[in-house]
């Protein structure tokens, strides 16, 4: 069996198991200063004065900076630009300038000899703030023009996506179902807090940065512009990251502060945030309110869908710009046949933590809203929810299907096969009918048990490109560098597998280097489930180039045609005569500068690959849940959970399962347990893990996974579809549908998360039914 498709043990594991992970806090540099950020304690205010005298006077404090020290540094730009939306009035500065707009906003930074002293000094920074009214609800804040926006409205922009004549479809429809439903604010909250270490070497004039991940090349480019330093003088070092989920690695104010202060002071600067800071300062996500309407014909087929969405984006617009709104709107139709469609997402700034992307951004929200509305519709139309889906899913004859929308400036072509057949396979794999029968029988016996499902479409392999380099040195050592980064997902192993397969060696013999901007000058980063697909394809191109060159050189040396050569256990040999040929080391040595120049090749045994892709690929699948609601406590327990997933081609099945199960843990957390709440003054109520509650091991059932490889992706040489997000996407929908079934609600559940106090309200309503809408 080849290496690709094998559940190879991870290359990353050994160092992590030994406690030798290269996490940012493990980096300590001689002479370093510790940075502590002073953050706004109120949600909205005009800054009258920031008094630093007392803090600076503390022994061990080197410097205290405020916005005055950053006058020449521009605001943090949008990375994911959606054309047609000018968000420049809403961008965030490195330190609050004139106004603070959310609790936790950086106002000043203290540099001290140790982190304890830095915290002591930070307490002494005197803030004189004139509080302003707070806006905590997107819809009611939209038309306000607070002082802090200097004339602009809180409503930053609206993303509107659609096609077909929606109004006519609704006017002519046999049935129209409207559902009001909301997703609570929550976020990725990786376990490792954010951090950065920066050192400027005045002799080499190089600025070295540890802790950068996700999009290091992009961040380097932006920092170069913001700090006035040449890109080639900034070196982002390889790093391990304790989880990303979309949250870690974007440019935050602290990512500007640290390198800037390293330049300013001439000393290394180290910053590690703590948990309380993370929960108020790192991107939140997901807070949307939807009014979704579905229009059906007499046969319960969708003829139109419209949705109006209010997105609470927090205090500023950060690097994601309007992307989450765009992703919500473009992906909402999902896997269904839909002749007419329109969604508007109003992106509004409020006085809460700013928002960005979080695993399956826009799709977690949209899938929940759509799938829940389908279940409500099934009740209204008097049709079984499984049958309703079967009637509306795109089938074999209709796929691939061009959805008339543009996503990330590419056409949205659903490149899967027969969603109906997949649904049937998924139902069988989960044994879902048995879950439903069980639930029905339990309800008859007085227990509140229910089952629900959600079909989702995901997106993966976002281009436009990524780069890779594979090189073999004179000792025969094989190394690959790729433009993505390690966020814990196992990408090093996957890249090693791709190289190992082509060279017929063990993956453990391949060195993988990620996110080092010196070794690879350009890359597009790890996000949007793209690194296996796009990065992996670039690696495939690069290693294929190595093989091509090796065969060329070997052929020349033993005087055979390269076409007569094969690769066997790291040797390039004549087919059928394994003794006739050379090892990787020998070939590499033969690729010396002079010989290669004469062959018209660059020196060394090197292969470079750039994989360019103009469309994304769209994995898909189904989530199934069975839950029980405790009638006394209103606690929701997940009894069973299953994810069916079309992966195209699994490079490492074990890692695919890991992504799906891990993703589901987060998705279930968002459905039942996690919410960033605020009081009416805009004070965050979740500043510890005791308030922001992730699922623990006992909160999760055994999560079944059924992975299918029925539909290899057509647009990349690996046939892979990416697996980073689909485990999360369907959880809101499946859980909400199961709870609704358990309580036999006439209407929707109203909102996620379904925490006990909210479920208790639903229970009260269910036992005293009002008029059906």
């Amino acid at each position: 069996m080849g290496v690709i498709g094998r559940s190879v043990r991870r290359l990353e594991d050994e160092r992590l198991l030994l406690g030798r992970g290269r996490f940012c806090d493990n980096v300590d540099l001689p002479g370093q200063l510790w940075m502590r950020v002073v953050r706004s304690p109120v949600a909205h205010a005009r800054i009258r004065r920031v008094g630093t005298v007392a803090a600076v006077a503390q022994p061990g404090v080197a410097r205290v900076v405020t916005a005055d020290d950053f006058e020449t540094v521009p605001r943090i730009p949008v990375r994911q630009v959606v054309p047609g939306h000018d968000l420049s009035p809403y961008l965030q500065p490195a330190l609050a300038c004139g106004f603070v707009r959310y609790v936790g906003e950086p106002v000043a930074a203290v540099l001290a000899e140790d982190p304890y002293v830095a915290e002591d000094a930070a307490e002494l920074v005197d803030l004189d703030l004139a509080e302003l009214p707070v806006a905590l609800d997107a819809q009611s804040a939209a038309e306000q023009r607070p002082e802090s926006w200097r004339g602009s409205r809180c409503h930053a922009t609206t993303v509107e996506i659609g096609y077909g004549d929606v109004d006519r479809a609704f006017a002519a429809a046999a049935h129209v179902v409207a559902v009001d439903v909301a997703v609570g604010r929550h976020g990725g909250t990786p376990l490792e807090p954010r951090g950065l270490v920066a050192e400027h070497d005045p002799v080499s004039k190089r600025l070295t940065i540890w802790g950068a991940t996700k999009v290091p090349h992009w961040n380097r480019r932006v920092l170069a512009g913001m700090l006035g330093v040449a890109e080639h003088r900034i070196h982002m070092r390889e790093t391990d990251a304790g989880g990303g989920f979309g949250v870690r690695g974007e440019i935050y104010p602290e990512d500007v502060l640290v390198p800037y202060l390293a330049l300013l002071t001439g000393r290394p600067v180290k910053w590690i945030e703590d948990r309380a800071e993370h929960l108020v300062a790192a991107n939140h996500s997901r807070q949307q309110t939807h009014r979704i309407e579905l229009a059906f014909d007499r046969d319960c087929r969708l003829v139109g869908l419209r949705d109006e969405v209010w997105q609470d984006n927090g205090g500023y617009i950060r690097t994601h710009g309007a992307a989450v709104g765009m992703l919500t709107a473009t992906m909402l139709p999902g896997p269904y046949r839909l002749p007419a469609y329109r969604t508007s997402v109003h992106v509004v700034t409020t006085n809460k933590t700013p928002c960005g992307t979080y695993r399956a951004p826009g799709r977690y929200e949209g899938t929940f809203v759509r799938e829940h509305a389908l279940d409500v519709s099934a009740t209204r139309l008097g049709i079984d929810p499984v049958e309703l889906r079967r009637r509306n899913l795109l089938d074999d004859a209709e796929l691939p299907h061009r959805r008339p929308v543009v996503i990330y400036e590419t056409p949205l072509v659903l490149d899967g096969k027969d969603y109906v057949a997949h649904f049937d396979k998924a139902l069988a794999a989960a044994g879902y009918q048995a879950w439903r029968d069980e639930a029905r029988a339990a309800r008859a016996a007085g227990r509140l048990v229910g089952a629900g499902c959600a079909f989702f479409v995901e997106k993966a392999g976002l281009g436009p490109y990524d780069n890779a380099v594979v090189d073999v040195d004179s000792t025969g050592a094989v190394r690959v560098a790729m433009g993505g980064t390690n966020v814990g997902q196992g990408i090093e192993t996957v890249m090693a597998q791709i190289v190992a397969e082509a060279l017929d060696i063990e993956p453990a013999a391949v060195t993988v280097v990620l996110s080092d901007t010196d070794l690879l000058a350009d890359g597009t980063g790890t996000w949007a489930s793209r690194s296996t697909v796009v990065g992996g394809s670039a690696v495939k191109l690069a290693v294929d180039e190595v093989v091509r060159k090796a065969k060329l050189v070997t052929g020349e040396l033993i005087e055979v045609s390269p076409d007569d050569l094969v690769v066997e256990q790291g040797r390039f040999v004549v087919a059928g005569s394994p003794d006739e040929g050379f090892s990787l080391a020998e070939v590499a040595r033969a690729c010396d500068a002079v010989s290669n120049v004469r062959r018209g090749l660059e020196p060394g045994l090197v292969g470079r690959g750039t994989f360019v892709v103009d469309v994304m690929t769209y994995p898909y699948g189904v989530h199934f849940a069975q839950v029980e609601v405790d009638a006394a406590t209103a606690h929701v327990r997940v009894l069973r959970y299953c994810i069916a997933y079309e992966i195209g081609r699994a490079i490492n099945p074990m890692l695919v399962r890991g992504q799906l199960v891990g993703g589901a843990a987060q998705g279930i957390g968002g459905a039942l347990l996690e919410e960033f709440r605020y009081d009416k003054r805009g004070q965050p109520l979740c500043t510890t893990f005791a308030d922001y509650t992730w699922p623990r091991a006992a909160d999760l059932p055994e999560i079944q996974v059924a992975v299918f490889e029925d539909a290899p992706a057509p647009d990349n040489p690996l046939g892979a579809r990416g697996a980073g997000e689909g485990g999360t996407t369907g959880c809101g929908g499946a859980i909400a549908n199961a709870v609704r079934d358990a309580l036999q609600l006439a209407d929707g559940v109203g909102a996620l998360p379904l925490r006990p106090d909210r479920v208790w309200e639903l229970l009260q309503r269910a036992s005293r039914p009002g008029p059906v809408e």
């Binding site: 304890y116 909160d699 055994e702």
Partner: protein
């Protein structure tokens, strides 16, 4: 409010046995055991996730029992025996528990891994025949954000079953 200038007068000498080695250090009372292990002894395997005692990432063994090193001032454990993740691999060879963590994909980003390894080590010593439900309950002491706990439970169970 006491300021850092008072600290010089209140530094305290502590003796700790860490992973079998005796160390004598002079520390400020407020220095946590986690910070001492990481920054004074260079044992960076033990990680810090919350400094609130809620995530268990900083779990070490103190006199053989699992404890949250972020909630312990180093001075409190003067004279006691501490074991960290670095003690698990004898001579650089992964222990059976570490090997099975890798085989059963209990590691993704690896940040929670040292804490879980130490917690599981204690569990396996105390309850070598624990069943899957019991394992899940005991492992609920620590948080993981990447794996959904499945691989971790599988790994520990593989050692209680045998």
């Amino acid at each position: 409010m006491t300021t850092s200038s008072d600290l010089a007068e209140t530094a305290v000498s502590v003796v700790l046995e860490v992973n079998g080695e005796r160390h004598q250090l002079t520390v400020h009372p407020r220095r946590t055991l986690a910070d001492l292990l990481r920054h004074d002894l260079g044992l960076v395997g033990t990680q810090v996730g919350c400094e609130q005692g809620t995530c268990g990432t900083c779990t070490v063994l103190v006199d053989g029992e699992p404890a949250r090193s972020c909630l312990i001032f180093a001075v409190q454990v003067d004279g006691e025996r501490v074991e960290t993740v670095e003690s698990l691999a004898a001579g650089g060879e992964l222990s059976a528990l570490q090997r099975v963590f890798s085989e059963l994909h209990a590691v993704q980003c690896g940040f929670c891994t040292p804490g879980f390894l130490v917690l599981a080590t204690a569990l396996l010593r105390n309850e070598p025949r624990a069943d899957r439900q019991r394992i899940r309950a005991e492992l609920s002491a620590n948080l993981c954000r990447c794996t959904g706990y499945a691989g971790i439970v599988d790994a520990v169970e593989s050692l209680t079953r045998s």
